[in-house]
Symmetry: C2
Subunit: 206 residues, 2 copies
Amino acid sequence: MSMREPGLCVVDVEKGELRGATNRYTKTMGDLAGLYEDEAAYQAVLAELGDKVVYEVTDYKPSADAGDMIIGVTRMIPGKVGREYFLTRGHIHANPNRPEMYYGESGHGIMLLESPAGEIRTVEIGPRSLCYVPPYWIHRSVNVGSTDLVMTFAYPADSGQDYDIIAKAGGMRSRIVDDGKGGWTAVDNAGYRFRAKELVDSIMAR
Amino acid sequence: MSMREPGLCVVDVEKGELRGATNRYTKTMGDLAGLYEDEAAYQAVLAELGDKVVYEVTDYKPSADAGDMIIGVTRMIPGKVGREYFLTRGHIHANPNRPEMYYGESGHGIMLLESPAGEIRTVEIGPRSLCYVPPYWIHRSVNVGSTDLVMTFAYPADSGQDYDIIAKAGGMRSRIVDDGKGGWTAVDNAGYRFRAKELVDSIMAR
């Protein structure tokens, strides 16, 4: 194995990005078709926002080797689709036995986690909150605040992302919605379908 | 594999610690015998500081499994031993093919890195600096500022620490010292002994 050079980046909390990143990707509302419960509200927000970036990720990826880590910053704008707070697509790691660390920089978010068997957890994230996502948890972040949600993250470089696991189940089991009092609450996703035991077992065996 | 619960900690930048940590260790100047070049100055600082904590680590360790990560906070007080800035013992990961991320919270530090073959790198860390330590680099942090150096870190839970690699070489190849103008500079460590090629090759093969 050869040595790789040390890296130095800077988290720009105001801009919600990593200076010195090697990669950037952005999502518009149009990229999130089918994720929200209220299709009419989604179409209205889509018409309003157009190509505006709703969330973006900038990261530093030394390699995709098992021995490396990817570090970066995610920024999501605030807003709601109907009663449902803005969210990221969410994923399980393609190599599911891989963890992730999220660190709150600014704003107010929820890390929504779901086990392959359909257990739900919510972790509230504010500035300086350090959230540990253990292996095997499907996870998505939700902006329940009124400002950009900015988080720094780190995960093993050989993790990968599998987004389809959520789509195939009709979404995550819970949705994070306005509780009508300025806060948030988790409600059941009516379209959710539990995974077959064989599928759950095959994920957990990896 | 069974699911582990998600974790939530908070980085207390003022105190330089992780609230919700599962582990803490502290070092006094007495724990650092032999690390500084100027033995008389070391004895004087030791007499002055006594049992005062010179640096401490608080971390959240879900397990020691390969699939987990350890996240935490390190805090080091400012000061010098003679011309040499306060430092941590430093280590290479016992499983050397493991990386680490350091994130500046407050203060002004240097990450001093050395390859097994004796190459040196320095990375300057201030608030919001995100330093990536790739696999195989021996690394130590140095407080070159006038306040506590506080950093958040993350690394794979199966990394381990090997401190002896530094001691056996007579220290790291460079020392970080006062440049006489209020700043820092790296100078050669006169006591340094290069590792044998066989040892370097055996580390890099792991």
